[in-house]
Every structure is written in structure tokens, then in C-alpha cells.
């Protein structure tokens, strides 16, 4: 079943395919340039059926495929590596076995509710890749890291200083959010959205809003949409600035690190000016935004934006003019475009490999022009490219916010959706958060409540990219490579 973004479609419209056809259809579409946006289990009569959402960047089409409930099916991963983590996730959540999957390790160490007789694994305790040999050694890090960072466990298989493989084992942050969205929406739903990944409050909030608006056929007032998009770009600016500073810090370049630490806060304070919370809590709601901007606030935003632009670009210029910094950035942590395509990278790491993937272009929100924020691409694929793409995106975001504030349409900021959702529908919300594409998919049950709500944070696609980027690198470059991806632990663990 194909449909455009921002249109809810009846679940009954998707044919329920036998495993062989389901697999063939997915592989054929991936061969034709579609990407796997989500793969999840949907409880239905007779068991749990797999659902797959695919998207095509060229024209923003979506495809929703269903498989008959089955205890096992032929794994997609050997022919479609971007499915590898989704299949592990479905296996952990529902006990459905993808036959032929290379290694069905736990994703979040929750145990499988469908197999209660099996004990819940201890977090991080599983078989890992191992390198054997006289001079091979293993470095294990985490879950508690050295800084103020979320928890995760990393295992480096090293030969001397060189990393042959990095294995990333997560799940420590699992809060069980998806399970608690079932039966919603309720009074906690929007707050869960804002804390799926707290540094992406606007991104996830907007994806959820788009999904509910599609379900309820709510037309968002232009002014509300514009304010939400301004907040989305402010979120990108704050985090991209922080990332440039952190990358500078990881190669010991203090000036940019110190400046960016402060400038990041200046961008957060602009979001605070809009809605009272530096992370944008309470701003985006289905149907628009909860806060309007008056003329003095717009003037203050514009003047502070200009000051912050100068400070941010000054700090970034130092970074990109420093030969010692560039020597560390260039050629480090490379991912080829071919690998990025295979494993399904999204966001700045994909664009740094030259892949034109940006949900603002492929799946623009209604009322948002696909061309009003230019896409930034680079093709070196390494730390340097990921830094440069961020720097260029900051410029694009600043220009967009400036123009949006000056040309803010008149009118209301929110048209609250009617309460109650239609039953038996599928809807999708897609936005480009600062880390990359955020995908929310919901299926409503006969009672008009969420029967399934799948959240795919860009980190879910990209963590494996970090593991690949580290192959053949020195272990001392891990912090730098890690910051150049800066992925979310809780967004992955949910």
C-alpha cells in the first residue's frame, strides 16, 4: 500500500502477505531505492504480524507492508543489512525468529514477554565479537562513562592501538515508553514524546504532532507551523554548535570548545525565550504550538540571533582554519557512501557521505517548502565531513529562522485536533531532527486508540555506523568519532 506523507490510510488497505512475498516486496523496493523506515510487530488475531514502512526520498512516497502472523520468517538482513537491528528488536519484543539472521543478540536486554520461561538477561551480558591472537586485546568501557553522558557499553577489539571492531551494546536507558504509548493518546503522551530523547524535544514532538494531525485531518495554522519549524532549527543550531565544540575539545583545541559551550546555551536560551523552557518543553502540540510570539519578542529573537550567528561562525572559523585540528579531522572515521547506503545511515552522517537524505526535503511538513532550507552535502565521509556538514547546516538554519521570523504569517498558532482518533488507521510522522530522520508510525485499534506506536530515532539507524567508522582507526580517536556522530542512548533504548 503506497501513500504520501501526512495522509492517514486504513490498515485494511494493506494486503497481508505471506512471508515469502513480504520479503520479496521489501527487497525489490530497497533495490529500487526505497529505504526501510520502520519494521515492527503488530498484535492481531492469530498472533503478531510484522509491519514494514518504507520511504522513497525522491518523491516522498511511503509504502506500508504487512506479513501474516508467523513464529518465524526468512530474515531480511542477509540481503538488506539496514534491517539487522530492526529484526533483532522484533525478535526481542515478540519472539519472532528471523531465520538466517547473522546474530540475534539482545537490543535492550528486556527479555522477551512472549517467552516468559526464559530469564531476563542482565544488561550488557551477552556474547560479543572477539578477536583472538597473542597481541589482540579487548577494551571494555561503560555503562557509566567518564563524563556527564548517558550510559552505554562499548567493546573494542584491538590489535595494539588499532581497532578491528567496536561493538556497541545498549539498552541501559530503556524506560519502556513504547509499551506505555499503547492505549493512548492520554495526558502523558505528549510528555513522553518530549522526553524520548530530551535533547530532541522539538523533533520528536513535531513528528508526533504530524502523526496526530494526519490521523485527525487537522489543518495547522501557518503561523503555528512556522513557529514550530523555527524551534526545530533552533534545536539543530544548539546541538550542531555543541557538537563542533565537543569535536574541538576531543582534539584538544580549547578556544572553539570553550566558545561553543557558551554559544550552544545562547541558542537554547532563544528556545527558552519562545516557550520558557530551554529544550522547548511544552511548545509543540498536535495542531500547532502552545506559545505565540509578539512583536517585541520577535525583535529580540532577531537581534540575539544575529549576535549568536557572529559568535558561532567566529568560533567555527577558528576550528576550520587550524591546521592541527584539520590534520586530526581529515580522513578519520570514514564511512563510504556504499556502506552508508547499505546500513541505512540518516542525518548528517549520511549527508557527510554524499547521500541526499533529509526528511525536510523528502517528506516536508504541509506548508513547508522543500527548498526553503538547502540540503548540505559532502562526500569525504569522515569526521571532517561530518563537522563541515554541521557548520553548513547551521548557516542554512540561521538564514531560514531569520526569514521565517520576518515573514511570520498572521493568524492563530494552534488549531487543536478534535478529540478521539479514527479506528483502524495507519499514520506516519516524519521530521528531520538535528541527528537525522525521526520516524513515528502508529496503528489505531477498533477503539480509536494506539494499538501500536513505533518510534525510530535516527540513532537507531546510526549507532552501527559509528561501529563501522571506527574500524581500522586508533582507539584514541574513538571520542572524536563518537562526537562526530553524537547519537542518542535513550532515543535508541526508548
Amino acid at each position: 500500500m503506497e501513500f504520501p506523507h501526512f495522509e492517514a490510510v486504513p490498515l485494511a488497505g494493506a494486503a497481508v502477505l505471506p512471508p515469502v512475498l513480504f520479503r520479496r516486496e521489501i527487497l525489490a523496493r530497497v533495490d529500487a531505492g526505497w529505504r526501510m523506515l520502520a519494521l515492527f510487530g503488530l498484535p492481531c488475531p492469530g498472533g503478531v504480524g510484522l509491519c514494514c514502512l518504507l520511504g522513497r526520498d525522491a518523491d516522498g512516497r511511503l509504502a506500508f507492508l504487512r506479513q501474516v502472523p508467523a513464529e518465524s520468517y526468512p530474515s531480511l538482513t542477509p540481503d538488506c543489512p539496514q534491517a539487522h537491528l530492526f529484526e533483532r528488536e522484533v525478535h526481542e519484543q515478540w519472539g519472532i525468529i528471523p531465520e538466517g539472521h547473522p546474530w540475534l543478540k539482545p537490543v535492550r536486554f528486556t527479555g522477551c514477554p512472549a517467552r516468559p520461561e526464559e530469564p531476563r538477561p542482565a544488561p550488557g551480558v551477552t556474547d560479543h565479537f572477539q578477536l583472538r591472537g597473542e597481541e589482540a586485546h579487548e577494551v571494555a568501557v561503560g555503562p557509566v562513562h567518564a563524563g556527564i553522558i548517558e550510559p552505554g557499553h562499548f567493546r573494542f577489539q584491538c590489535f595494539g592501538e588499532d581497532v578491528y571492531h567496536l561493538e556497541i551494546s545498549l539498552g541501559f536507558q530503556h524506560r519502556g515508553i513504547e509499551a506505555r504509548l499503547i492505549g493512548g493518546p492520554d495526558k502523558r503522551t505528549v510528555h513522553f514524546m518530549e522526553t524520548l530523547a530530551g535533547d530532541t524535544t522539538i523533533g520528536h514532538g513535531l513528528a508526533h504532532a504530524a502523526l496526530v494531525e494526519a490521523l485527525t485531518k487537522t489543518a495547522v495554522p501557518a503561523r503555528g507551523r512556522a513557529i514550530a519549524r523555527i524551534a526545530l532549527e533552533l534545536e539543530r543550531l544548539a546541538n550542531h554548535t555543541g557538537d563542533l565544540g565537543a569535536m574541538a575539545g576531543d582534539v584538544g583545541y580549547q578556544p572553539t570548545m570553550a566558545f561553543c559551550g557558551r554559544i550552544r546555551g545562547d541558542f537554547l536560551n532563544l528556545t527558552g525565550l519562545v516557550c520558557g523552557n530551554r529544550f522547548g518543553r511544552g511548545l509543540v502540540r498536535p495542531g500547532g504550538v502552545a506559545f505565540d510570539l509578539d512583536k517585541p519578542t520577535i525583535r529580540e529573537l532577531l537581534s540575539r540571533l544575529e549576535l549568536t550567528r557572529r559568535a558561532a561562525f567566529g568560533a567555527a572559523e577558528l576550528l576550520f582554519l587550524s591546521s592541527t585540528t584539520l590534520a586530526r579531522f581529515e580522513g578519520t572515521g570514514r564511512v563510504s557512501a556504499e556502506t552508508a547506503r547499505e546500513i541505512g545511515l540518516v542525518g548528517p552522517p549520511a549527508r557527510a557521505c554524499g547521500l541526499p537524505r533529509d526528511a525536510r526535503h523528502a517528506f516536508p511538513l504541509p506548508g513547508a517548502g522543500p527548498k526553503d532550507i538547502p540540503m548540505q552535502l559532502h562526500d569525504f565521509g569522515g569526521v571532517y565531513a561530518r563537522a563541515l556538514v554541521r557548520r553548513l547546516e547551521m548557516e542554512a538554519s540561521l538564514d531560514f529562522i531569520h526569514d521565517a521570523l520576518i515573514g511570520l504569517p498572521e493568524g492563530p498558532v494552534r488549531h487543536a485536533p478534535e478529540s478521539g482518533l479514527p479506528s483502524g488507521m495507519v499514520a506516519v510522522g516524519l521530521t528531520e531532527g538535528w541527528r537525522g530522520e525521526i520516524c513515528h508510525v502508529a496503528v489505531t485499534g477498533d477503539d480509536g486508540r494506539f494499538a501500536a506506536y513505533k518510534v525510530v530515532d535516527p540513532s537507531f539507524h546510526n549507532w552501527f555506523g559509528l561501529a563501522v567508522a571506527l574500524r581500522g582507526q586508533q582507539i584514541s580517536d574513538f571520542p572524536l568519532c563518537n562526537k562526530s556522530f553524537n547519537l542518542s542512548y535513550c532515543g535508541h533504548d526508548l
Partner: protein
């Protein structure tokens, strides 16, 4: 080199004057909730019904708001037909007791008492903390981390975050302490030599916050380690955290700007 110095001049001195003066907060900042003393309409439970985290309610002493469960979303202020609930711009939310977070109409504000003399003597001039994120959404983490930037310059107060619990005087927990982080959280605290301090940063770490009741979380740090300082918020503003830390060490902090 010259370009670095020139840029340094352009960037200017950016450290806030706090605690000598109070930096401006957003006019829309939602700080300490205020409960008016006017009576509730009979049988009205609009606020409790609207609150996403069950922070509001009424008992035999009347209306209360538990700041340890509140995420300061402001929903109750709009839901109350009598407009009894409002949010001030007071950033001082921290408390040294869990009970002190329960607000009543006309009641006491949250209060931070300095550490008792034995620990105060040890830590007043140098406090090293190990931060543990245990299900935090990276907002509390980010606004704790920002204290180490040039804006707040935490080091000037003798406070710093260190990499090892063996080097630390205490642990600052963020997040609702997920089942999968419980062992690591408790283990990290155990690795800090006594005497030590425990700090819960953010509503999740105090009570589980939005995630309280989820089988995958365990009610924050409060059930698992002795907490000396509770800092509510979702996330707490950096100044809310700094204010709490400084008062715990016996320092004076400024009231909110008028």
C-alpha cells in the same frame, strides 16, 4: 595565534555574575509553583485530573503540589477553574528533604539546609561529583554539563565533575533509574568513599517523574541511596542546579530578579 586572540576578544567575557547577581531568565520561564489560599470549588479535581504525573492532589490538609513529581509543564495552571495555581519565575526549587518539596497554599518554600558541620568542613571548598545518568533523557545531563562551561564556570566554586567514583565526594544521579541501570547506579555510589553526598537532579531522579510506575524504571535515586539534595525540574534550569549546590555548601545565593 593572532586570529585566536582576536576571536577571544570578540567573544568577550561571558561568565555570569551569579551568585553576586541574578542573570535574567526568560519572561516565560516556569519556576516555583504558587498555590493561592482561596478555596477550591467543591468536588473539583480538575488540576489532579490534568496533571500528567500525579503531582497534584488534596488530602486532609487541602491542596498540595509535590514538586518532586512535578515536571513544571503548566497544565494545571490552565486546568484550574479558580486560577489557584500559577508558576512564578523563582528558579530556587531545590530542597534538602523530600518532604520539603510538597508545596501547600501559604506554606514553606523548598529549603536547602547546608550539610552538617562534619561534611560541610570537608566539602565546602572542594566538592567532586561523579554523575550517573540512569534513564535520563539527556536534558538533565545537558543542563548539568553546561555548568562546567565558561558561562557558569563551576570550578570557581570548588565544584567539579570527575571521571571515577574513587575520586569523587558524591554522586549526582539523573533519570528515573531504569531496571537496566540499577546495579550500575548503586555500584557507583558504593564505590565512593564515605563520607559522601547523594544528589538527585531532575524530577525523574527524585520520584521517577513521568516514568514512575513503569515496570522498566525503579522510582529514581531516592529509593536506592541517601539523597542530601533534591533538585526538581524537567530539566532543572542550570541556575536551579547551581543554586541548590551552592546552598548545600553553605553559600548565599540571590533571589530571582524582580
Amino acid at each position: 595565534m593572532l586570529n585566536i586572540l582576536l576571536e577571544r576578544l570578540r567573544q568577550g567575557k561571558r561568565t555570569v555574575a551569579f551568585p553576586a547577581a541574578m542573570p535574567p531568565l526568560s519572561p516565560r520561564f516556569r519556576g516555583l509553583p504558587v498555590l493561592a489560599e482561596s478555596p477550591c470549588a467543591e468536588g473539583c479535581a480538575s488540576c489532579a485530573g490534568a496533571c500528567p504525573t500525579g503531582a497534584l492532589g488534596a488530602d486532609e490538609d487541602g491542596l498540595y503540589l509535590d514538586l518532586g513529581r512535578c515536571i513544571l509543564c503548566g497544565t494545571c495552571a490552565d486546568a484550574c477553574p479558580g486560577r489557584r495555581i500559577s508558576f512564578s519565575r523563582d528558579h530556587r526549587l531545590a530542597s534538602s528533604t523530600r518532604d520539603g518539596l510538597v508545596l501547600r497554599p501559604g506554606g514553606r518554600q523548598p529549603h536547602v539546609a547546608p550539610l552538617e558541620p562534619a561534611r560541610l568542613k570537608l566539602f565546602a571548598k572542594s566538592l567532586r561529583l561523579r554523575q550517573v545518568s540512569a534513564g535520563g533523557c539527556n536534558a538533565c545531563e545537558a543542563d548539568t554539563n553546561v555548568l562546567t562551561t565558561i558561562v557558569f564556570d563551576l570550578g570557581r566554586f570548588g565544584i567539579d565533575f570527575v571521571a571515577s567514583p574513587r575520586h569523587a565526594d558524591g554522586v549526582a544521579v539523573t533519570g528515573p533509574v531504569t531496571r537496566n541501570m540499577l546495579a550500575a547506579t548503586v555500584g557507583t555510589f558504593a564505590a565512593v568513599p564515605d563520607p559522601r553526598v547523594g544528589i538527585a537532579i531532575g524530577t525523574c531522579a527524585i520520584s521517577g517523574g513521568l516514568f514512575a510506575g513503569s515496570p522498566e524504571t525503579t522510582g529514581g535515586a531516592t529509593p536506592h541511596l541517601p539523597v542530601d539534595l533534591y533538585i526538581p525540574g524537567c530539566p532543572p534550569h542550570p541556575l536551579t542546579i547551581l543554586d541548590g549546590l551552592l546552598r548545600l555548601l553553605g553559600q548565599q545565593t540571590p533571589p530571582p530578579a524582580a
